[in-house]
Symmetry: C2
Amino acid sequence: MLKICIVGSSGHFGYVLKGLDERCKIIGISPGTPEEDMSKLEKTLLEMNITPKRYEDWRRMLDEEKPDILVINTIFSLNGKILLEALERGIHSFVEKPIATTFEDLERIKDTYRKVKGRVFFAAMFGIRYRSHFLTAKRLVDEGAIGEIRLVNTQKSYKLGKRPDFYKKRETFGGTIPWVGIHAIDWIHWIVGKRFLSVYATHSRRHNLDHGELETTALCHFTLEEEIFASLTIDYLRPQGAPTHDDDRMRIVGTDGIVEVIHERVFLTDDKGHREVPLVEEGQIFRDFLKEIRGQGKCMVTPEDSILTTEVALKARLSADTGRIVQI
Amino acid sequence: MLKICIVGSSGHFGYVLKGLDERCKIIGISPGTPEEDMSKLEKTLLEMNITPKRYEDWRRMLDEEKPDILVINTIFSLNGKILLEALERGIHSFVEKPIATTFEDLERIKDTYRKVKGRVFFAAMFGIRYRSHFLTAKRLVDEGAIGEIRLVNTQKSYKLGKRPDFYKKRETFGGTIPWVGIHAIDWIHWIVGKRFLSVYATHSRRHNLDHGELETTALCHFTLEEEIFASLTIDYLRPQGAPTHDDDRMRIVGTDGIVEVIHERVFLTDDKGHREVPLVEEGQIFRDFLKEIRGQGKCMVTPEDSILTTEVALKARLSADTGRIVQI
């Protein structure tokens, strides 16, 4: 039986609840800070008849419960600090992305991970990879449907609504590029599989509807090896009346065809024409994570992926903050 | 009766033939260089029973025919040089975009235009503006359907096929950003109506199927005043099997909604939901040009637009050539 503790209620703990099986158990929960609103997690657990012990201090929880797995999804700036401690304690971690909101935290995580690699596993919550449309696009590319990738266009568009206060400060939120944009950085990394060389980015806080320092729009321009280019457009301006919360898109242009993910559907254009592609079955990131922890296979999201995408996201944010092209 | 001469057969003379009326007449044609293949223009004129005099030297044609209007669509690097001479001679010009392929030619055109402004008119062939879907998007934005524009994403994707030899040299072709990308620069300029401040761009010649120096892919990142950002993705990798030659797109994200041009259709997302918008009637650029020449109204594409978009395109190319952010 794998013992699971959860820190925080501010991220995608839903992946864990959906991926639970009879051989693992949530035994403890704690906020990341005394102020964190835990009601969302608590309400969901109650509905599922899961009754872990509630702690006020996550370190005490780790001391007392000695979990096998720590789920980290608190105030974004704390996720990396808690991951660091979990790795030091040898606890496998399923952690919200970005895995750090500062280069300093990321460097510490890299250093520590180097020491525990092979013994301790962690993965960032890149659950969007597992959605049918993205898995389908990945499979098409891997099967050679579009030849060599030359250009990628990605989009993240979210409704803003009313966010918790910690979104309003760079110090606690981390920025829209690391929080929202990182998903598309992950798709690019995962599907293209080439080294990122540089990034140029811009972002703007205007019209963020009283969300303080939160950036409402951002644009990133990545150059990968072999002169592959990738664009990423990000906005929190999706109208409240839109049919879905997000409008995730990816267009992958290759030498032999173009694959496109749009409106949760997948289209392929090649010499045979333009057509919709049937979707493969959806995956589940936490089940995939458990598989790796149990030694039954590889999790599609690796610690290396989690580190790299965070680094690229932080460098994109640095570019947008400074107006400079940043080498990766 | 307006007398029209045409130089070259390498661009969009089709706009002229479609926009002709009984009060104007094509009286002379000439290649831009002795080597230029004139067969496309000649064949089309023959089919339309139009029999202008054929010259071998466009300057002699201007001397002898003294046209009211010169249509310029020859080898791309010559268009600006011929426009310059037309302006000096006081001849209204309908000229292929970009109106120059070098900053030097563009500066000369600006200087000369300053002197003849008000007496001599010219417009670049931004005929895509007049297509129903783009006119519809423009009208929606102008009517305030999306509030203030914050972010724009544009796309130009073309089939490459087999291009004439002059496409294979930067010196004669000018580059894919100025030739293909400039259309989207024009949409951004026309619809957003704000000043361009800077551009970062990249481009690649790889996999251009023996097209020498022609760039197969490019990505541009524009910053406009008020922290408005605009992306432009360009490729010549649209598969031959695709249903259309081009896949032009534009997504305009505003504070109150999002307008999107895709697959020649227009969609609006706002607080009322997501829906397709009926298209307004198509326009015709050469008829619009004639209207201005005849003093019957304003042409939607102005000389100032033509100069500005060319300058932005050349600066985007400069950015891609040098790897630097270029101020506009």
